[in-house]
Every structure is written in C-alpha cells, then in structure tokens.
Amino acid sequence: MWEVKYEKSQGLTDSKLSYCPGCAHGIIHKLVAESLVELGILDRSIAIASVGCSVFSYQFFNCDAQQAPHGRACALATGVKRVLPDNIVFTYQGDGDLASIGIAETIHAANRGENITVIFINNAIYGMTGGQMAPTSLIGQKTTTSQDGRTQKNHGNPIKISEMFATIEGVAYLERVAAYDPKHVLNAKKAIKKAFQYQMENRGFTMVEVVSTCPVNWGMKPVDAMKWSKEAMEPVYPLGVFKDKGRE
C-alpha cells in the first residue's frame, strides 16, 4: 500500500513561484502554507505581502492577502487584525523591508504586542533590486552598493533583529531558524507553526526570523548558498529561541 508522505501543500496556489532556482523563499512559503493548513486556519488567514522578492507572495499563499507598501506590512497587519481579531494575520517580509525601511512599523507592532505573526526572511542582501547591501549584510560582504565589502566604519554593523526584538515586552514568541538542511527546515516549520498557534491563543506578537539564501545575488550555486548561510551567516545570526512567553 503506497501512502502519500509529502506533497505540495493545499496552502499554496497553483501559481508557479516567481523565485530564482534554489532560493529558500520557496521552502519557507511551503512551511507557512503547511502550518496554516495543519492548524485549520487557512480560510481565516490574511497574508500581508511586502516589497522585495516576496512582493508576489500574495499570489502564492492560498488565502486572502493584501500587498503592502515597502516596509509597512506590520502597519497593514495591525489595521487588519484590529478590525478582524478572530482572523489570522501574518506578514511575510524580507530584510530590507523589515529591518531597514520598515523597522519603525515592526518595532511598534511588536511593542504593542499586536497579535500577529511576522515571518522575517534574512538573506543579507536586496534580491529584487539586484543585490544591493541590506541592513543585515555581513561585514566584508560584497554587494552592488558595497563593492569592496561592507565596513563597519562606512555602513555600520549588520543589524541583529532577533536580539533586538527579544528586549521588547510585547513579543510573545521569537525564534531564529535556518533552512539549509532538512533538519533545520523541519525545525523552522515547528517554529512557524508555534508562532501561529500562539496567535490563535491571543498571546501577542510572534516572529520567526529565517536565515535564508540568495544564490543569484550572492553569485553562488543553490547548494553552495545553503552552505554559506550555514558557515558565514549563522555565526553572525545564531539560531535559537530568543523569547517564548509560553515557557516563562
């Protein structure tokens, strides 16, 4: 008797993902979609798409969606959640969107303890616009706007969002995960699912930061990009649970 163990999630639409080959966005999309289906909340979920590579994510999540201006996803999510408190509201944002232009919106949503879930994709670069420096780019990392490598003196240090948000009272759950091998992907799924579960329990602001990849703009093959996210990024962005009010 053959039994299906793994197939494409019903939480994703039939649209072909617009991401480059091997980009971890697709993996993380799956995890979000699977979580919404498994928790039985897909039909009351509202996705807030951001600006950047994930600008089209509203086409991929099989639920209602809004497309936010650059950086404003958490403001839209707040607007939706406040008037529809029984719905599940999540944002899906990259590092430029969340950690640069949208950091105020994100911090204040967290500080208010907005009962929303933020999926934060950190790949240390701007993908959509063509490989410019991100607030999370590593020291020494070469990008199209830091062609000799990022320096502390000129560009400042990579911003550590999870470390910073761990200090915010309104945050109920915050974990940094990675997607470079099956074990870490499965763990990322656990974290994402838990974040949604916390939202269902009205615990407050939840965020999962995913250390991700950008094979094209890093100039690497997808497999090497996974390796780089492990070997170069993880030491700067260590994985783990930064806050869990359920455990306190």
Binding site: T13, L42, D43, R44, S45, I46, I48, V55, F56, Y58, Q59, N62, C63, D64, A65, Q66, Q67, A68, P69, R72, A75, L76, A77, T78, G79, V80, K81, R82, V83, L84, N87, A104, E105, I107, H108
Partner: protein
C-alpha cells in the same frame, strides 16, 4: 435633537461615529488633535477600534489594512502629516479601497505654522502620491456642512471604492459653532463588500486580494483606464457647488471653505454699497465644478479667485474659465486670515488683481 455648540474637530469625530466608522488610526498633529482625542474615548467605549500609530506613515497603512478588511475606517491629520500619508493614499486608491481622510490644513510649506490655511489645495486635488489617481475632495465651509459631509462620506467612499478627503482649514477645526447632528442624510446605495480580505471562509472558492502591483504594463494601463472611467462617473455624479447672489453680478468671486464665508460677508458689504457680486462656492474640489462657470453671465467684469494660498485653486479657475473672462486673484497665506473688508477692497480694485 436641538442644536449644540461644538468644536469643529470634535464635531468631525462625532460625525464620523454617526457615519458608522469602525476604526480610526492616526498620529498627533496640531490643529486637528481633538479629532483623535475625542475618538480615543468614544470609539473604544463603543467597542470600536482606536489606535495612535507610531507615525503618519504607519497610520495611513493601518487604514489600508482595515479598509482592505472591509471596515469603515478613517484617519485625520494636518498638512505635514498628510504629506507623509501620500504614499499610503496612492496605494489605497490604487487598490480601490474606501476610507475617509480628514485634512485640517495649517500654514506651510515645511513645518509652517499651526494657523489656518488652504495651502494644501494641490496636495488634496493633485496629490503627492505617485500615479494617476484622485480622491473625492469635499471642502465644507462650516462645521455644520463638515458634519453633514462626513456623515455621508463613508457611503460615498464605499460606493466608489475610493478614498474621500474632507478638507478643512485649521479655523474650522478649532472654532465652535451651533450645529445639528440629526439633519437627514442622503440615502445612498451601499454595495456589499464582497471584495474584502476577511478570510476565504467568508467567500469560498475565491481569494480576495488588495493589491496595486501590475508588472504587466498592458494590465496596468487597463487598471488606469478603469480608474479614469470611475473618476469620470464621479465627476458626473458628485460634483457639488453653490451659486450665491448670481442674479445679475458685476463680478464673480470663487472661493471655498472658510474663505467663502469671509467672502459672503464681503458680498453683503458690497451690496450695501450698490456693487452686486456673485460667488461660485466649490463644495467638491475634485471633481472641480467647472460647469458652474458656464452660468457666469457674459457681461461680468471679472472673476476674483480668493484663497488662503498663493494661487493654487487659481489653476482650476483658469481651466474652467477657459479664457472667457478676466480672472483676478486674491490670496493670503501662512496662517493669515483676511477680514471681509480686504475682499471688498480687492473687488473695488479688481483691475490691479487681474492675472489673465
């Protein structure tokens, strides 16, 4: 209900409640602060949503979210704050979401002053956001008219799926007048919001998406054409103006909002001196009442545009006049208010004010 004396900003807030507002998102700025202050108490007390955002940018995007969710939602601000909201306004308009934006103008540019002004005429009618879009802009002249307009504004916004802006100056926000909240409001058809992003369980088999991104240029052009057609319908249906003393005017004044009221007094003074002056008072600034200009008698000596700005509405007057009559301009700016006597003087010395 008998008339009550109420401050303009508080009346704006109460009228919004009467108009069925579900949520308010805003950020403090003078001279509109009594709007959020009043709503913070009375919306929350009624189980509705009030939230002071971290910035105007965030506030307008919260409005986007809640409007997309299908609720009646508003924000209010003043000149520099409205400038910050332009990004969100463009997106909301593009995504065809209804909402109410109250703009209480103060002196500008820049930080300017907190005194009354009409310096944001361009901002309201031309917008600072990107792309081809329009708000439906009402410019009431009194607190009573502001109340009546706001009560109806959600119906209008919902009908057209387009933001409505109620544009007043700081004086209307800060003054108190005797007003009646129970004047009957025009009954309008308000379609069901079957487009709201409120979860597919509410509309099985269809995903609702609030979006303004169209990477296919042909598709985006179609979207622009659709919006354009909507604005044409709005022009046809919603253009609103008042003609005052139009029997046999020697001159015609064009003024809106507080300036129109000042001009009303000036017109009375001139009448006492035997000078007949009529007035076109635009009530909607978009759509602009170009049709009203067709009713100006051939033999008038000229049209005087009066603004609390340096010649912004003048552009629309020149377009509407289309070279037919002499057009003059009188403006005060930066928070300065003229008294009626100044308008009287401007009419008497009309020829010195002719711009075209």
């Amino acid at each position: 209900m008998a008339k009550v004396l109420m401050k303009g900003n508080e009346a704006i807030a109460l009228a919004a409640i009467k108009g069925g507002v579900d949520a308010f998102y805003g950020y403090p700025i003078t001279p509109q602060n009594e709007v959020p202050e009043y709503l913070s108490k009375h919306l929350l007390a009624n189980g509705k949503v009030f939230l002071q955002a971290e910035s105007e940018v965030s506030a307008i995007n919260m409005v986007y979210g809640a409007a997309g969710a299908g609720k009646r939602v508003m924000t209010s601000s003043s000149s520099p704050g409205i400038a910050l909201k332009q990004e969100g306004i463009s997106y909301i308009t593009a995504a065809e979401l209804p909402c109410l934006i109250v703009s209480v103008m103060r002196g500008g540019p820049g930080l300017g002053s907190i005194q009354p002004s009409q310096g944001d005429y361009y901002q309201a009618t031309r917008g600072g956001g990107n792309g081809d879009y329009h708000l439906i802009v009402f410019a009431p002249e009194s607190i009573q008219e502001t109340i009546d307009t706001i009560k109806e504004s959600f119906d209008i916004a919902d009908y057209y799926r387009n933001p409505v802006m109620v544009l007043v100056d700081g004086l209307i926000g800060q003054m108190m007048e005797s007003v009646d909240f129970d004047r009957p409001k025009k009954e309008r058809f308000v379609p069901e919001k079957d487009w709201a992003t409120n979860g597919t369980k509410n509309h099985p088999g269809r995903r609702n998406i609030a979006n303004s991104l169209y990477l296919d240029p042909a598709e985006l052009e179609q979207h622009n054409i659709k919006l354009h057609q909507k604005y044409e319908v709005i022009k046809k249906n919603e253009t609103k103006f008042e003609l005052i003393d139009f029997d046999n005017p020697e001159y015609v004044i064009v003024a809106y909002g507080t300036m129109a009221r000042i001009c009303r007094s000036a017109i009375e003074m001139l009448k006492n001196e035997g000078i007949e002056v009529g007035m076109i008072r635009p009530i909607t600034l978009f759509p602009y009442p170009e049709k009203a200009f067709e009713q100006i008698p051939e033999n008038v000596k000229g049209i005087l545009t009066c603004e609390l700005s340096m010649g912004q509405m003048l552009d629309d007057v020149l377009i509407a006049n289309n070279g037919k009559h002499k057009v003059g301009f009188f403006g005060r700016a930066g928070g300065m208010l003229p008294d009626p006597e100044e308008i009287v003087g401007a009419i008497k010395n009309f020829n010195e004010r002719v711009v075209k």
